[in-house]
């Protein structure tokens, strides 16, 4: 009886996402990949529900931009700025400006230099998400990404 309930739970998780309310239509996940020369790349992925979109780091309206802030630490250093894939662009006639945005999913990358054996990169990201009828206020998400 319990096993079948568990399988039903799995079915629910994949079939009816809408049943579980989430405060924001954007889910974030993180990964770090080490490369040569004591460097690593951080991947910060946003998965966006249908109909919603988040905005590029440098597209048009400042208040809408997705931004990243990494905490100062001695055991790692940022190399360059956070990069992102090419965004979609459209002219918002209501705002009389071009906006650059992402739908469905987007992976931001940040190169870092590692100065110690055990490194955990902490920081926070901020984003605004909108759909056709409403905008949700800018949200701050804290992250902590360990590096092997």
């Amino acid at each position: 009886m319990r096993i079948s309930l568990i399988f039903i739970c799995l079915l629910i998780a994949s079939v009816s996402k809408a049943q579980f309310k989430i405060t924001t239509p954007v889910k974030w996940s993180y990964k770090a990949v080490k490369s040569a020369n004591n460097e690593a790349v951080l991947f910060l992925k946003g998965t966006i529900e249908d109909g919603w979109h988040i905005y590029a780091q440098d597209g048009g309206i400042k208040s809408l931009q997705t931004s990243f802030a990494f905490s100062n630490a001695k055991n790692y250093a940022l190399i360059g700025r956070t990069t992102a894939p090419k965004s979609l662009t459209k002219y918002e006639k209501v705002l009389k400006a071009n906006v650059s945005y992402y739908e469905k999913s987007v992976i931001f990358q940040q190169k870092i230099k590692i100065n110690a054996a055990q490194v955990k990169v902490k920081g926070k990201l901020e984003f605004t998400v909108c759909n056709a009828t409403e905008c949700r206020p800018a949200e701050e998400v804290e992250f902590s990404i360990p590096i092997t």
């Binding site: 039903i8 739970c9 998780a13 579980f20 309310k21």
Partner: protein, 388 residues
């Protein structure tokens, strides 16, 4: 000999309790431990991500653990039961995941041949069983609804009629889900987290017309039927503060008064406008859907402002972006009505402003007569009141 027997009996009793059933009053807060003997998997995972959502379904924390060794252990403190996802990452295949309702207890995780995680040992929790049962029931009704909808006859019917029929079917099933599953579970489980879970679901439904907004008194009275220990849980407290806020903001209540500055710092109060019909509109320069409403608001303002209708725009723009705010007012030509800023987030707190646009229509006596009226709906409500 006697002493050895006694030791064996004691050991047996201890072991029996380790793998027994949870008692009627389960621990609702405390440590959650996930354990896994990784020798049992055909490969070793290199990373585990544990994600938690609370009883109301609000996503919360995410913890990443880099796997070292063969005995995996994760421990965290829970203030109430939660919904847990464990994602295992493997070197040469896609990550596998498993989700379940977790109590503050210990869970042993094993793997199928396909490296799918599963719970191999835990205390059987009445709370978990109860919540899973409600979920299964919901799915059953939802599937039945779709089956009935699928049977609707399209032949020789007007599309509008068929769509009306389908909406009626969907609505009636939603009502059944609400009464037979959730409301019923609240009534039957006032002393259990199951009752709280059901109430949280009941309160957020129906979709688009949440009861927290439209029937806060009903939710409040249901919340009060729950046991004090359940009412003290974080999710219950969150529901309580939401409905209190929403109850105060509903149609029929007095609009709460606040004072905010305009662009040059002059302070205005909502109550300054008693005697007029007032639309309090929350927007921001960066909010496309908000600004898309402005042409319509201008039309309505021009039509009714001489008859005693006013609009107050309150922006959610942040202080550093004051220029964008002023620019938007100019561009959209909405300087014809009062524009106030909320740089200290006073209005945001008082009116629980989350998503925008959101607006309140207030009558001359200061009572809220409409909420989130846009486009035609706003025009209709004003026409009604100005006819008198």
């Amino acid at each position: 000999m006697k002493r050895q027997n006694f030791k064996e009996i004691l050991l047996f009793l201890i072991c029996f309790n380790c793998f027994g059933f949870a008692s009627a009053q389960e621990l609702l807060k405390g440590s959650l431990t996930l354990k896994s003997d990784l020798n049992l998997a055909s490969q070793k995972p290199w990373k585990l991500v544990v994600k938690r959502s609370d009883l109301g379904g609000y996503s919360g924390n995410s913890d990443t653990i880099l796997v070292k060794g063969i005995a995996l252990k994760y421990k965290t403190e829970l203030k109430e039961p939660c919904y847990l996802s464990v994602d295992f990452y493997w070197k040469d295949r896609k990550f596998t995941t498993y989700s379940f309702w977790a109590m503050p207890a210990t869970y042993e995780i094993g793997f199928t041949n396909n490296l799918m995680p599963m719970i191999t040992d835990s205390v059987i929790s009445q709370v978990t069983v109860g919540i899973e049962h409600l979920i299964a029931q919901h799915i059953k009704y939802a599937k039945e609804a779709e089956r009935v909808v699928g049977d609707v006859n399209y032949e020789n019917q007007k599309i509008a009629d068929v769509e009306t029929k389908i909406w009626k079917i969907r609505d009636s099933f939603e009502n059944l889900i609400d009464s037979n599953i959730y409301l019923s579970a609240v009534n039957k489980n006032p002393n259990s987290v199951i009752g709280l879970y059901a109430l949280l679901k009941f309160a957020e439904r129906p979709y688009g017309k949440a009861r927290t907004i439209n029937e806060p008194k009903k939710i409040d009275s249901l919340l009060n039927t729950l046991d004090p220990t359940i009412k003290a849980l974080p999710s219950a407290r969150k529901l309580f503060s939401t409905i209190n806020l929403e109850a105060e903001l509903k149609v029929g209540n007095a609009m709460k008064d606040i004072a905010l500055p305009n662009a040059v710092g002059k302070i205005y109060k909502i109550s300054d406008f008693r005697g007029k019909y007032l639309l309090v509109d929350f927007w921001a320069s960066w909010c496309t859907p908000c600004r898309a409403e402005h042409p319509n608001l201008i039309k309505i303002f021009n039509k009714y402002s001489n008859s005693g209708f006013q609009i107050i725009g309150i922006t959610r723009d942040q202080p550093l972006r004051k220029v964008d705010w002023l620019d938007a007012i100019k561009k959209d030509k909405i300087d014809i009505w009062l524009q106030l800023s909320d740089f200290n987030n006073t209005a945001q707190k008082v009116y629980n402003v989350e998503a925008i646009p959101v607006n309140y229509l207030v009558n001359p006596a200061g009572i809220i007569i409409g909420r989130n009226l846009r486009g035609e709906a706003l025009e209709k409500e004003l026409k009604k009141n100005f006819k008198k």
